[in-house]
Amino acid sequence: MKPEQIQNELPYAKPFLFVDKLEHVDENGARGHYTFPESSFFYEGHFPEYKITPGVILTECMAQIGVVALGIYIYNLEFPGARIRMVDAADIDVSIALAETHIDFKKPVFPNEKVTVISTKEYYRFNKLKCKVEMRKENGDLACRGFISGVIIPQSRRG
């Protein structure tokens, strides 16, 4: 699958889609970028007097680009046409769930900052994808990095 196709298959929507462009995906990793708009809902409360992107949102951004997009690509190598569908799913379709995260936060990300996420596959075995992920700011500084894993759940296995 091409990056544009994968991006269209991402199951997220505003205000919880944190991918502007998926730049590159192959079986070893993924790369993409996102700019956090100042109007994002979470800045209203995080924090009222000092807008800073929450760590959980940075983690989510890394998971969407680095793990979910890569998971769609890898799963489609074996099962072409499989999509992530929670409702009206065909037999071939899958759902995807976060399994583990371990992230170190290095530099804050402020409103309107563009970040690039780079993920590298650690392993994909028995429907579990574990990736090393990092987020870079426009000047190249490391914002955060760590490990995220997720599991792909085939529809046929759901009860």
Partner: protein, 82 residues
């Protein structure tokens, strides 16, 4: 490799992924890894990968489908290393 030796090597791997609220003393040869020991499916994959490293074997999807208890794991390992 005897069952006892395999069990002794398997035990620390299982303990590594046991949830904090599950007592390690509850691990028995017939303990169900997910239902009784509460190891989630994502961690079950880690158990399998560690088993592969420890015993220098490679497991297939069909092996994992048969894996419910410690005894199942021992049987699968025995089959693979023989």
């Amino acid at each position: 490799m005897t069952t006892e030796v395999i069990y002794a090597k398997l035990l620390p791997i299982i303990k590594r992924y046991l949830p904090e609220d599950v007592d390690t003393n509850t691990i028995q040869p017939d303990s169900d890894l997910t239902d009784e020991l509460n190891i989630n499916s994502a961690h079950l994959v880690d158990v399998v990968l560690d088993v592969e490293d420890e015993f220098e074997i490679e497991l297939e999807n069909s092996d994992i489908e048969q894996l419910r208890t410690m005894n199942d794991a021992i049987a699968i390992i025995q089959k693979k290393i023989s």
